[in-house]
């Protein structure tokens, strides 16, 4: 198969070169000698840091170098230069300088290699270049060989040991080298030696690594801002340049006046410091230069580096138009595909529409209709914000207002385009950060709604990982027809119900949807006919009449039949519900707990519909409908069961409160007894340990054995308390209903509330730290008993004792710290992974290749299976096939 070759360009090479002092002077518009910026009248000082020859930033002013203005013809700004009184080392190049010094002779500047070695290296280098191989390794070897030399082979000078004192000072045999000396040395290195030092002789000379002239960037790079008070505030770079010029001047004056060597050297060091921090203010080994307020200055390297730097914040990521952001809130009446967008937003966001002979009338109507005075003020009428007319390459953008609407509409021509306000049914991309997987950005159909928040169906919370405690989300409008089609086919919410992570539904019923369906289908719920009509009205049911039965002269409908209205007629399914007790002997089809679900020909015969039926991640019925009947049917099913569930739960009523955790006194007594026994057992273990009678487990020390035994007992105690409490909380208890159906919470939560909170742990062990040999001063030193080591015997409802409360806080704190650490660490891991894999894709022939065409994998996933369409990761669902064959489908 011919692989469609994408238009990718390969970067042949990137060349880095140094600016020579001459080049810096040549490109300079002016020499800068004054450390001041503006004079008292507010005019820039000539040959100062804001010299008008360096470019202009105020609109209207003309640049003295190019004569252009800032706005229209755009003066790009021009470099200036500072002549340094004494040379200074460039921090960014210090490693290269060190390598050059180490591998050359101070006397004659030649490489410290024998002629034979040199010839061999040159030959090798040529070969490497011809073969297009990376020469880094070879060149490192050159330096290694040079360092070994003891005497220069040319002039016989003994080779000194070059050491680098971070960040910018060099020593030969322990004697400090001044930048001037270094520069003289580097000047001696002949051009022929440069290739072996990894320097391109066409683009650089080693002595250029020592600065004698400093380029001054234009004012466009470091604009000053005028504050409201009329005060000027200068850019960090300007501040730093002021320091450089000032010290440079003092250095020059002192040197020319013949000041003592010591003073000159001090000033020289200071100049080195200022230039080093000007280039990089985070150089290790020197304190960062600070602003008056104590904030470290943002100098050249800081502008580029890191998350807030030019690359990550302005080049890889940009702010975009046609986007919006606001708080989100839930709306159970919307379809999962829909998104409620506030009117205020809709009137600001636009979509371009080309005017053609087919739609010109409609376009005219659009321009006018907003101002045509409608009776119904509640309804949103989309208008047009701009009309763009293009004649002979001239673009004219006319704003549509109430006054000119009529006029503009009449003059509308074919070939112009209108910028139409957002309308119901438009497609837009909706996103929540952090965007951890592709479902973090999905396409929704817009529905314009009043008020100020985005609204969407609750089922779409899990893929975005959104809740409504103040989360905000972003909206991006689609501007073109191709993009719209693409988004509709690939990115709509309904196309993303199945997750590529595990091959199951990620969108499904949550919380109240599950409680609602549970209420509707558990036991043999019978619903009075009129109530049933209310529920069915929520999904606009218009099917055939129901099987009703009469009791005490009233007509009833079974709750299971109501739920069955949502199921396709061909659905046949059997599975264990979440409410399954995992009995020792499963009586499968005749489950006493009603936890075995059977659906025959689209009718729910028995069983409870709960998390395992319709829930996100687990819903079996949901999964089956999507696989057998497609995404449209899946969406419809989700939309309908949410409405049905909400209608049911509203009708039946559902509430939970603290008295859901009430248990009878006799149960409390039982739990207390159990805890008493456990405490006794633990003190028994401790006694046995102290008496040395405890037998250690294989591979464990005596202490470890004791800890393990105690942990075992405390664990069992909590389970025991939970079981006793659970047995007194029946299925008619709302909290239990939520836990058993998987709507929210777990039985563990309940048993902690009404039974016993249990052992608290830090680092997976009983709490052991705090004071010397004890956790708190309330206990004796060396106490190994349960309560001294963080066992909480109380339940949340009865309240914790002060020591228990303290232990509980310790455990809780550990949990919080763990999550905080985990998110930051996994975030960075994800970033590295994405940067490595961003341009990898599956080609038409099934291979996985990156943008350069390198093959990564010969068949995607080694089996060519799309995990989204797999059954929980398996290519074939064998159980399904067997059951289908058995039933003769």
């Amino acid at each position: 198969m011919e692989r469609a070759r994408s238009v990718t360009k390969k970067i042949g090479k990137i060349e880095f070169s140094l600016l020579s002092p001459n080049e810096i002077r040549k490109m300079s518009a002016t020499k800068v000698i004054t450390a001041d910026t503006y004079d008292d009248d507010g005019f820039p000082i000539a040959m100062g840091l804001m010299d008008p020859r360096l470019g202009v930033i105020e609109p209207g002013l003309r640049c003295k170098t190019c004569g252009q203005r800032v706005g229209k013809d755009k003066c790009p700004g021009h470099f200036g230069h500072i002549d340094l009184a004494m040379p200074v080392i460039h921090v960014g190049l210090i490693k290269t300088i060190r390598n050059c010094l180490r591998s050359t002779c101070r006397e004659c500047g030649h490489l410290l290699l024998t002629d034979k070695q040199r010839e061999e290296y040159f030959k090798e280098l040529k070969r490497y270049n011809q073969e297009g191989r990376n020469t880094t390794y070879l060149l490192k070897q050159v330096i290694k060989d040079c360092v070994k030399a003891e005497k220069c082979t040319r002039c016989g000078r003994e080779v000194g040991k070059i050491e680098l004192d971070k960040p910018t000072s060099l020593r030969e045999n322990g004697k400090k080298l001044t930048p001037s000396e270094v520069r003289e040395w580097l000047e001696k290195i002949p051009d022929e030696a440069l290739p072996l030092l990894d320097i391109n002789k066409k683009s650089a000379r080693p002595e250029w690594m020592i600065l004698t002239v400093l380029p001054v960037p234009s004012v466009a790079v470091r604009p000053s801002v005028t504050l409201q008070s009329g005060e000027r505030s200068e850019d960090d770079l300007t501040h730093k340049l002021v320091d450089v010029i000032r010290i440079n001047q003092r250095l020059q004056e002192n040197r020319d006046a013949g000041a003592p060597q010591l003073i000159v050297e001090d000033l020289w060091e200071l100049l080195q410091y200022h230039i080093t921090t000007y280039l990089d203010n985070q150089t290790s080994g020197i304190p960062p230069a600070r602003h008056r307020s104590g904030r470290p200055l943002k100098t050249l390297a800081q502008r580029l580096k890191g998350k807030e730097g030019r690359f990550r914040s302005n080049l890889s990521g940009k702010r975009v138009n046609f986007s919006a952001r606001t708080v989100i809130s839930p709306d159970p009446n919307l379809s999962i595909n829909e998104l409620g967008v506030p009117i205020r937003m809709a009137e600001e966001l636009t979509v371009p529409v080309k005017v053609t002979s087919h739609n010109i009338d409609w376009c005219k109507q659009m321009i006018k209709q907003k101002y045509l005075g409608s009776d119904d003020h509640a309804e949103y009428i989309p208008g047009v914000n701009y009309v763009v007319r293009e004649t002979d390459g001239m673009r004219r953008r006319i704003k549509v207002t109430e006054k000119n609407a009529e006029d503009v509409a009449e003059k509308l021509e074919i070939g112009s385009s209108i910028e139409r306000q957002l309308m119901n049914g438009d497609i837009a991309l909706f996103n929540r950060q952090p965007s951890l997987h592709r479902m973090s950005m999905m396409a929704h159909r817009v529905k314009v709604v009043p008020d100020k928040t985005f609204r969407f169906n609750l089922c779409v919370c899990p893929p975005y990982n959104a809740d409504f405690d103040g989360d905000e989300m972003n909206l991006h409008l689609i501007q073109g027809e191709e993009a719209k089609a693409e988004a509709e086919i690939l990115m709509k919410v309904q196309e993303n119900i199945l997750s590529p992570r595990f091959g199951g539904a990620i969108i499904g019923g949550i919380h109240d949807h599950i409680s609602g369906c549970f209420l509707l289908t558990h036991k043999d719920r019978k619903i009075p006919l009129d109530d049933a009509s209310h529920i069915l009205a929520a999904i606009n049911y218009d099917g055939k009449n129901f099987k009703t039965f009469t009791e005490d002269g009233k007509k009833y409908i079974s709750g299971k039949d109501v739920f069955s209205t949502l199921l396709p007629k061909s659905l046949n399914l059997e599975y264990k519900a979440k409410a399954c007790f995992n009995c020792d002997t499963c009586q499968a089809p005749n489950c006493p707990h009603n936890a075995y679900v059977i659906v025959k020909n689209g009718v729910l015969k028995q069983g409870i519909i709960d998390e395992n039926g319709i829930g996100a991640f687990k819903g079996k019925i949901l999964d089956r409908i999507i696989r057998d009947h497609g995404m449209d049917a899946g969406r419809e099913f989700i939309d309908n069961f949410t409405k049905l569930a909400i209608a049911s739960i509203t009708l039946f009523g559902f509430t939970t409160s603290i008295d859901d955790e009430d248990i009878p006194d006799e149960a409390k007594k039982q739990i207390a007894e159990g805890i008493g026994k456990a405490l006794k057992k633990i003190s028994g273990l401790v006694k046995a340990y102290e008496a040395g009678e405890l037998e250690s487990l294989p591979g464990r020390s005596l202490e470890e054995t004791l800890e393990m035994e105690i942990m075992k007992v405390t664990g069992k105690t909590r389970d025991m308390a939970g079981e006793i409490a659970g047995s007194h909380l029946g299925m008619d208890n709302s909290a239990v209903m939520m836990a058993k159906s998987g709507a929210r919470g777990s039985m563990l939560n309940l048993s902690q509330m009404s039974g016993c909170v249990g052992q608290q742990a830090v680092r997976g062990e009983r709490i052991s730290r705090g004071y010397q040999y004890r956790t708190l001063p309330h206990f004796k030193r060396g106490d190994l008993g349960a309560s001294a080591k963080g066992f909480v015997a109380s339940c949340y409802k009865s309240g914790l004792s002060p020591t228990e409360y303290f232990f509980h806080s310790m455990g809780g704190r550990e949990g919080l710290v763990d999550t905080a650490v985990r998110t930051s660490r996994s975030g960075y891991m994800q970033r590295r992974l994405i940067n490595a894999l961003e341009d990898v894709k599956v080609e038409n022939d099934g291979t996985v290749r990156h943008a350069g065409g390198q093959i990564i994998q010969f068949i995607y996933g080694e089996d060519g299976i799309d995990p989204t369409r797999s059954m929980g990761g398996n290519a074939v669902d064998i159980d399904r096939i067997i059951s289908d064959v058995k039933e003769g489908v």
């Binding site: 198969m1 011919e2 692989r3 191989r133 990376n134 390794y137 070879l138 022939d845 291979t847 290749r849 065409g853 390198q854 093959i855 990564i856 994998q857 010969f858 068949i859 996933g861 080694e862 089996d863 299976i865 290519a875």
Partner: protein, 85 residues
């Protein structure tokens, strides 16, 4: 030397998959099948213990059959390249 004979045979280790130098004909077919230049393939150094063991020279292509979690066996190819020592 006697000690050299006693060296552990790396090809028998359970973490080392099956490696094989492919023939000229197979090579042609492979390159045609994926419509690629040899340098588009994943690489293996000529100094890799396996390369040394089976005597692979730079420019040759190795066929590797690995055990796979998803498919039972996965075939992959690697181009032998010269190392920088």
């Amino acid at each position: 030397m006697a000690t050299e004979k006693k060296h552990f045979n790396i090809m028998n280790h359970k973490l080392v998959p099956f490696h094989m130098i492919i023939s000229e004909k197979e090579r042609e077919e492979l390159l045609k099948k994926y419509n690629i230049e040899p340098n588009r393939l994943p690489k293996i150094l000529d100094t890799d213990p396996v390369s040394i063991y089976i005597g692979a020279k730079p420019g040759q292509i190795l066929k590797i059959i690995r055990e796979s979690h998803t498919a039972k066996e996965a075939v992959s190819y690697r181009l032998v390249v010269e190392s920088n020592k």
